[in-house]
């Protein structure tokens, strides 16, 4: 997995103190679902906005001033550097406070941290994206990244599901990808719902029905842990090897840089050795702790 050079980044972006967030301004707020919102934001310092770079799969630490800091992936694509996007579900103290912020409000951001999707090794491959719920956020960064360089990649299948039609995130993206004839977009919901004419079924089962070929393919999976756990066997049934399965893990984090101690799976720190892992890197070690 590619890791951005720490030494290169730490001087400029961390102001010599990696824990200090940069002040950013919210430019746009999008209601994704009743509990998920996407925030578009920019660095207040124009020079930072211009020079900031990241890779799909990396995450940041976000501050709601007066409340605290929390960890979220960057959900926008580095190929669209005008602003950054973060999608978050209202679940705790910081996310609830975040949801109360509107256009023009200031937040803090530090990052980017962690490794990223191995974009170079995906070139020339057929890509199978498997997402559930808000787990589409990190995949979405990579999907747009790939679509913006469409000729470098093979077939694209996207299997995405949520509990109900109202819980589908990034509906505008789902629509754009459905209309894109170079993408096979499959959307599903867990249970039948009124007014829903699309597929019904859990993501791993629908994935088996869609049955993408494992030939020259890589599957990139993100969703709730339970979905991830059932998706790997489904992929295996289709003939994907563990080396052809990639996921990005979520853990409680505080520092984001491998110091504070809580996001490890054995000697692997999700914040710096991950969050992106190939299934073969994690499948044999403490499978119950991710």
């Amino acid at each position: 997995m590619t890791t951005s050079s720490i030494s290169e980044r730490k001087k400029f972006f961390s102001q010599n103190n990696v824990y200090l967030p940069h002040v950013c301004v919210i430019e746009k707020v999008i209601d994704e679902t009743p509990t998920v919102r996407t925030f578009h934001f920019k660095f207040k310092d124009e020079r930072l906005q211009k020079e900031f770079t990241f890779e799909s799969g990396q995450f940041g630490e976000y501050t709601v001033f007066g409340v605290g800091e929390a960890t979220f992936c960057i959900s926008s694509s580095p190929t669209r550097p005008d602003h950054l996007e973060v999608a978050l579900q209202r679940v705790g103290k910081v996310t609830n406070a975040f949801h109360r912020l509107g256009v023009g409000a200031e937040i803090g951001f530090r990052g980017p941290y962690g490794n990223s999707f191995p974009i170079d090794s995906l070139k020339g491959k057929n890509l199978v994206f498997v997402g559930g719920g808000i787990g589409l956020a990190p995949l979405r960064s990579l999907i747009w990244n790939v679509i913006d360089n469409r000729d470098k990649y093979g077939k694209i299948d996207i299997v995405y599901g949520a509990r109900s039609p109202a819980d589908l995130c990034f509906k505008y993206d789902l629509e754009a990808w459905s209309k894109d004839n170079t993408v096979n977009m499959v959307t599903t919901i867990d249970r039948p719902a009124e007014g829903w004419n699309g597929r019904v079924g859990l993501v791993p089962a629908v994935l088996e029905q869609v049955a993408p070929s494992p030939d020259n393919a890589v599957a990139i999976v993100c969703g709730p842990p339970i979905m991830i756990r059932f998706t790997f066997p489904a992929l295996a049934k289709l003939g994907f090897t563990p080396e052809q399965m990639i996921t990005t893990l979520e853990k409680r984090m505080k520092c984001g840089i491998g110091k504070c101690g809580r996001c490890n799976i054995g000697p692997l720190f999700v914040c710096k050795d991950g969050p992106v892992f190939r299934y073969d890197q994690i499948k044999n070690f403490m499978p119950q702790e991710y």
Binding site: N17, V18, V23, F65, E69, R252, K259, C260, C263, E289
Partner: protein, 346 residues
């Protein structure tokens, strides 16, 4: 360079060193002992003849510290980092186990992204070690490459011999500090032989042993063995005392405190023994107690060695044994990890 000084002259010596250094000495606060600023007069701390309850790491990695504060003005949020502390410090009387722990924290806080708070406090620090003449029966430093008179992580090693203290210069910085202070006299050969026998006597008092042979591999061999860890964790009440007072534990929580018109981001010691430590909205990877106990033991004896060149991040200081309310004993756990399974038949 080996020097000696009368106990009565220690105060004058510290006064001299205090001209260039901020001096930290063991001090007592009720039942708790910890390193604190020397008051500039009293040498009563010399009667604290056993290791402090709070490990010496607290000087560089305080229980709680401000990371920065922020305030909103007409142009938006402004951040302010607290000014640097006076950087030159001298710790007088640090025990070998705690000095060895600092060497491990130095690596962990420096690796990858540097931790500016710890490293700034730690910079230009002189460590004057103190031989443990009366170790606790919970101490097991000798199993982990240490010893009550071990000098490898300090600048000066100091040992009480009768009513005098013998100081050995270990590093160049230590030698420089010993030179040119009139309260010292050169130690004679008789002094040095007395020093040797005092240190040998101290060494003999460490009787608790832990079997660290192939321990990292042995831990990995039982890492998925739920029954082993459940047995090891059976008594534990998850109070976190073992980790809180551990000289090599360095995990922390980050939180914001709001005060009128301003917010302060602070960090504070945390513990992997608390379920909330890893709790996420939907799940908790270490909800079960045995997973948390496994994390504590395996971090010190397997993960840290994997990450940092084989170094076991336990110094055998014994605090987790003597401070535990239910007599949980890490040496019993380590010693119960099965011997390495040899696949070779020869």
């Amino acid at each position: 360079m080996v020097k000696k000084i009368k106990q009565a002259d220690i105060g004058k010596l510290l006064e001299r060193w205090a001209k260039d250094y901020r001096i930290f000495v063991p001090s007592r606060d009720g039942e708790i002992t910890r390193f604190d600023r020397w008051d500039g007069k009293d040498t009563g701390f010399l009667s604290i003849y056993r290791n402090t309850v709070v490990p010496a790491k607290s000087v560089f990695f305080p229980v709680k510290e401000e990371m920065f504060s922020y305030k909103k003005d007409s142009t938006g949020y402004q951040l302010k980092v607290p000014g640097p502390s006076m950087s030159k410090k001298l710790l007088f009387g640090i025990r070998p186990c705690d000095a060895s722990a600092l060497a491990m924290l130095d690596v962990a806080f420096k690796e990858g992204y540097e931790d500016p708070y710890y490293l700034e406090k730690r910079r230009d620090t002189v460590l004057v070690g103190m031989t443990c003449l009366r170790p606790y029966d919970s101490c097991f430093c000798t199993s982990l490459g240490g010893g009550p008179g071990e000098s490898k992580n300090v600048d000066i090693m100091m040992t009480q011999v009768g009513d005098e203290y013998i100081l050995e210069g270990i590093t160049q910085k230590g030698e420089e500090l010993l030179a040119g202070v009139e309260y010292f006299t050169d130690a004679s050969e008789a002094d040095i032989s007395r020093l040797r026998s005092v240190k040998e006597g101290a060494l003999k008092q460490i009787t608790r042993k832990v079997n660290v042979k192939d321990i990292t591999q042995r831990i990995y061999d039982v890492i998925e063995n739920k029954e082993f860890w459940e047995t090891s964790a059976i008594k534990c009440v998850s109070c976190g005392v073992c980790t809180f007072f551990c000289p090599t534990c360095y995990c922390f929580d980050i939180s914001d405190e709001k005060e009128k018109g301003t917010g302060i981001r602070k960090r504070a010691w945390d513990s992997c023994q608390f379920p909330v430590y890893t709790k996420m909205p939907a799940e908790n990877p270490r909800e079960e107690k045995w997973r948390r106990v496994r994390q504590k033991v395996a971090h010190k004896y397997a993960y840290f060695p994997t990450l940092y060149g084989g170094t076991i991040s336990c110094t055998g200081c014994g605090r987790c044994i003597r401070l535990c309310p239910v007599s949980w004993d890490i040496t019993a756990v380590i010693n119960s990890v099965p011997e390495k399974v040899t696949t070779e038949s020869k």
